[in-house]
Symmetry: C2
Subunit: 438 residues, 2 copies
């Protein structure tokens, strides 16, 4: 049987795009043998055709006109690796409307315009695949859409940002301060010169929105996600967590809230640093690795671990999607997410969790009684307390039983009013313990 050529138009040829082009060349024969399709990159749209990308590809393949690649009737399938919302959104929509499957790694695009794009793909009856947009090389999207299609998912917790995981791992393993760990991440190229998008949790929030959409079939956009970053985490928080048998990780959390019988689904989607017991599988995800932990009703606990970034690793996810889209295109079929439902998003104030709280207080008799009284007034039950002397001051560390976040915030406000409380330090949610109600 003569293999069917699949003529790919590649939009963008940066780190991931160039790695994808190289991988297609390396793996062409294997893929043809296994699928009967020959992948060919017939056009590559770039900003500048002058740049040498170290690829053995004819210069005539490159163009600066992305719109013409998408419109070209000789292109069967479009791979969008430009990033950002525009012009990516318009190009992807035009490709879909022209009946071309699209594979994209564009997290920002999907986290803001996913519903529009999924609907356009369904309308055209072609694939829109985006494994690389969520957790790099980790096959989360496929597993959620296919393996877990009938699974009642209770909660998903993901370490989906490699930069912050590297920083927190370094702080934990070497005792480095946040600033030093960040500087090291920057010198290694794991963090940008302006690290805001990573360290403030914006990157993870966009991924959380996409995960919520696929896991629950609901429309969640990046702006819906409550997010807190890691810039307020101190070495002493890490040290206390460790003494209590915990590590601190930046988590993207997506969970179903309330009864599943309610008319409108209710989900909670948030990003924040959290304390996890060291025995939890996510606790051992070190360095810049990512991992996603799924708590299902039938499947029980499932974790996927791997590289969340990096040119070749991300390109491998793009390639897996391209092979799928190529197979489906030849057979005239596609995978559909179905229309996304409107969901109620749980405000963070309604969250029920255990909490870690550190306070700096004056070291004098009666302080603990006053502080404990404030917790009691807000009906927050303390599970454990530790005190550490600091000369004239002392640090108090509390872990609470499950409480509602609104009450905890009220407690923090009231504690801040006490004369004996010098400052309220970090507040961290404690998750993943055996008694964690989710």
């Amino acid at each position: 049987m003569t293999p069917t050529p699949i003529r790919i138009g590649l939009l963008g040829c940066g780190n991931v795009g160039a790695a994808f082009a190289a991988l297609v060349a390396e793996q062409r024969e294997t893929i043809t043998a296994r699928t009967g399709s020959v992948l060919r990159i017939d056009a590559i749209a770039v900003h500048s055709t002058a740049k040498d990308r170290g690829l053995h590809i004819s210069p005539s393949t490159f163009t600066t006109d992305a719109a013409s690649v998408v419109a070209d009737p000789d292109i069967d399938l479009v791979v969008e690796l430009i990033g950002g919302v525009e012009p990516a959104r318009t190009l992807v929509l035009r490709a879909l409307q022209a009946g071309k499957p699209v594979v994209t790694g564009n997290k920002e695009l999907l986290a803001n315009h996913g519903a529009e794009l999924y609907a356009a793909a369904d309308e055209a009856g072609v694939d829109l695949l985006f494994e690389a947009a969520v957790a790099g090389a980790i096959p989360l999207v496929r597993v959620l859409r296919e393996s877990l299609v009938g699974e009642p998912i209770r909660r998903i917790m993901g370490i989906v940002n490699g930069t912050t995981n590297y920083i927190l791992s370094q702080m934990s393993e070497t005792g480095a301060s946040y600033q030093n760990a960040l500087a090291e991440a920057q010198s290694l190229g794991y963090a940008e010169r302006d690290p805001t998008a990573d360290v403030e949790g914006h990157d993870a929030a966009a991924k959380a929105a996409i995960i919520a959409s696929i896991a629950y079939g609901v429309n969640v956009v990046a702006g819906d996600v409550t997010s807190e970053g890691i810039s307020g985490i101190s070495s002493s928080d890490i040290a206390f967590a460790s003494r209590l048998g915990h590590v601190i990780k930046l988590l993207a959390v997506v969970e179903q809230v309330g009864k599943s019988e309610s008319v409108e689904p209710e989900v909670a989607v948030r990003v924040h640093p959290a304390m996890l017991p060291t025995s939890h599988p996510l606790a051992s995800v070190r360095d810049s690795f990512n991992a996603v932990f799924v708590e299902g009703g039938a499947v029980d606990d499932l974790m996927l671990y791997g590289r969340g970034a990096g040119g070749r690793a991300t390109a491998s996810a793009v390639l897996g999607d391209v092979v799928d889209a190529a197979i489906n295109l030849r057979r005239g079929t596609h995978r559909s997410l179905g229309p996304l439902a409107v969901a109620r998003l749980q405000p963070i104030d309604e969250l029920s969790s255990a909490y870690y709280l550190s306070l700096e207080v004056t070291d004098e008799p009666g302080v603990l009684a006053k502080v404990a009284g404030v917790f009691g007034n807000h009906k927050i039950s303390i599970r454990s307390m530790e005190q550490q002397g600091l000369g004239v001051e002392a640090r108090l560390i509390f872990i609470t039983h499950h409480a509602v976040e609104r009450d905890l915030r009220a407690t923090i406000a009231a504690l801040g009013m006490l004369d004996c409380v010098r400052s309220v330090g970090s507040m961290l949610r404690v998750v993943g313990a055996a008694d964690d109600e989710g």
Copy 2:
């Protein structure tokens, strides 16, 4: 659009079969909404129709005649959960030949007759899916066949037997002896009364054969797999491993050997206990959980973690496959593995690895020199040594640099001839360190 009914014939209604039937009922609406197909279990073949399985299914659905279920023109898709080779093999072949997709969780069948069954499925142009046969709820087969279709996989290491992982975890965490940990696993229902298939590595070997077949497209059967179990692992091995920063896990290892340019592919497939650094992601897989660690050329390291057994978890993998097969059936397509190639299997003697070796020796001057001389004569280089006094005896623990197993075995034989060596204890391969050449 009216949903299309998919009429399922279920063969076998034990633990997994009953959980599958319950899951189909629970998740029917979700699956219909997402796929447009209504899953219906129209026939269930069992040994005895008298048994109450706690399912809300009409008694007329049950039959003792499995062959008639397979032959019934009103059955669209067959789920085989009988286990064992016959009659499962004949029933699966007949179903495929009748153009019915088959989903099976039968490890023994696939590890012995996989090539015949995959060929029959391709011949008929229908799906043969078997996620549940390899690592229960872990979506390994899907990820290997789809996400990693173009990936040059260097090595796969799996903890694919929950019983032995439970026993080793207990020995490691509580200091229990092998016998006590086994007895506890039996009392919890994690181990059979006759635990041979688990503890001697036979179950893991069958899974390793299937993994090798999918990962490399080669025909490997259970009998091809060299396997060693865990019954020789002592508390002192675990304690030494721990002092050296390692844990002991039973691993199924599948790897590509030699140059990929050779005409006939060469793979190594084996099961044995191994020492892993505690920082390795597989080291933190505790209790009866399973995990599979994939080392790829582009994807880098990828790990999938979850439940390798249990009725509902395994049934969730069956359900994921059934949904896939239903979608493909409606569209007249199927997934193919392609014909399996013949591979050269590397004999264990040719393995290159680092090794752990424990010796009991007489505690007298000059012993270490004699022992070290034997290592040197066989050109085995020692990376580290520890000595522990036992009164008149002493225990020597060695970790070698990478060596060829043939040389290590010759060394062990020669050490056994020394008067000063009372006994040669465990020999364990050490894998997963930064300098592990794979």
